[in-house]
Symmetry: C2
Subunit: 311 residues, 2 copies
């Protein structure tokens, strides 16, 4: 077990909601001063407060969001400017799209366990509503905005830690979920030639089929390699990918009482979805300190990440 | 020392050059089929070949570029699609802008040393020419395109390794080097209102002043914490930031024979600049197997990374 604990967490979800057939999505309304950056900052400050730690004692700021704020510099540097200006805390982005939080938690746990860093502030913030295509009903109605931050700290008494992490990427799904335009592949100068190229584009059924084909084996391997079966796990926090969660979880033999599903209330908050559902579960008594918790999800790529922690 | 070796390397630099006052820059010409992705793929395949390793034996593909190819999915997944389709190798992006290669090498060395991964393919590819502003002479004449890849492998005999790594970020410089538009901060839909907002923008003198003020202390601390002084280091490979390299290195008391400067021949290849200068030094006999080598540089942020390796 890698000696890391979640010392504190914070989140920010826009108050404004839109509703589609009873499904609620929190989204920044046009004209609001809320941005991807402001949400990241609110979540980060709340996490620092909850952890009772001063920003001066943070050794690294990691942004783990799917989409950045600017192409340059990295998102972590822009968050740094708001909460750590004048300090020299290193800032870095880690990205596997929707599972960025889980991948970054996994990677950073090695740096904390080895003693490189004692306290890392990890933030996932997404303004998905920036890039939705109203003509693509399925994805247009799915996403929500929001941000989550956690303080990951060295845990010396063995009470908390990272038990096992695993990632896989199957790039036959690389174009099933994408935003093509905005960077070097399709530069912003060509925007007027095809604005939809700069919007989120999801082939939902293809993603679902590929995930349905790959995930059961992935999760079987995970259980075998980690030595933990679903019976040893207290709660599963899956990526809140879509309403299809209820179809995917049975394929993994995860019973309905053992996973968190808040898609009806929040939708898919991209990289913030897994940590937000985790916090929701903690605050609603579904996860308790000491529980063995599995964070698991798929991301554009197609990527799957799973991370088993003792909370 | 973390047990990691550079088992092989590869690079791709476009043949086409432009010249500014005798300074040569390799850039993808308009109409060429070369892209950020094609360069990444060429470099990756060359690195695999040089390492005599099959893609099947790679445990993780990491893209460490400043600017991505698409907002979604991450760049590593798109590279995966070209060289590892059909496999399930995990793909991930790590980003600290210009020093992404050094930061990712540093981070990944923990995962290799701990046994999580045995062989990691690390790629930095940049098509800087995509986003240059012809009206900003200083940056317009500075950048070059290109890609570099290395295979990082477990080294069990202690002959190679990572000796010490350090990063700092000073966000008072967050807006001295940036591309503001293209992602959520300034979405592509507003392109026509101010195309320059989507171009690279550098306040060169401000960056130079901030780096000049911060780097000497950073490098002093690095030497103290690592226990290595400049006398123990065989060669320094600095970020090929600009012609000002000759002004910055003396501030760090690094003598001219002890660092690589190929800015006149290649300019600033963004995240590919440090690993490209490293390979150039190896191929030109300036760095030999077993040498103690310092990779060091600054990035938008302002971030500084330094990584001391035994090659």
């Amino acid at each position: 077990m890698r000696n890391v604990e979640i010392k504190g967490y914070g989140y920010y979800v826009p108050e404004e909601t839109v509703e589609f057939d009873g499904q609620i999505r929190h989204r920044i309304p046009s004209g609001s001063k809320e941005t991807q950056l402001s949400m990241a900052v609110e979540a980060a400050l709340a996490a620092l407060k909850k952890a009772s730690i001063d920003i001066k004692d943070i050794d690294c700021i990691v942004s783990a969001s799917a989409v950045g704020i600017q192409p340059i510099p990295c998102t972590a540097a822009l968050i740094h400017e708001q909460i750590a200006k004048g300090s020299s805390i290193p800032a870095m982005d880690i990205n596997t799209t929707c599972t960025s939080f889980v991948a970054a938690f996994d990677v950073i746990s090695y740096l904390i366990d080895s003693g490189r860093y004692n306290n890392v502030l990890l933030i996932s913030s997404e303004k998905a509503s920036s890039g939705l295509n109203p003509k693509q009903k399925e994805s247009y109605e799915l996403f929500g905005d929001g941000a989550v931050a956690v303080v990951l700290s060295r845990c010396n008494d063995g009470s908390s830690g990272v038990i096992f992490g695993k990632q896989k990427t199957w790039s036959e799904g690389a174009h099933d979920t994408e935003i093509r335009g905005g960077l070097t592949g399709l530069i912003p100068a060509h925007y007027s030639e095809g604005p939809e190229e700069y919007c989120f584009d999801m082939k939902g059924l293809k993603v679902l089929k590929l995930a349905g084909r790959k995930l059961p084996k992935f999760f079987k391997e995970f259980q075998k390699e980690s030595g933990y079966t679903i019976d040893d796990i207290d709660m599963v926090v899956p990526h809140q990918a879509s309403k299809a969660l209820g179809m995917i979880m049975p394929l993994l033999d995860i019973p309905s009482e053992k996973y968190i599903d808040i898609v009806p209330q929040y939708g898919n908050m991209v990289s913030a979805a897994i940590p937000h559902a985790f916090i929701w579960a903690v605050e609603n008594g579904r996860i308790r300190k000491g529980d063995t918790v599995l964070l698991i999800g798929t991301a554009a790529g197609l990527t799957a990440n799973a991370l088993l922690i003792k909370y």
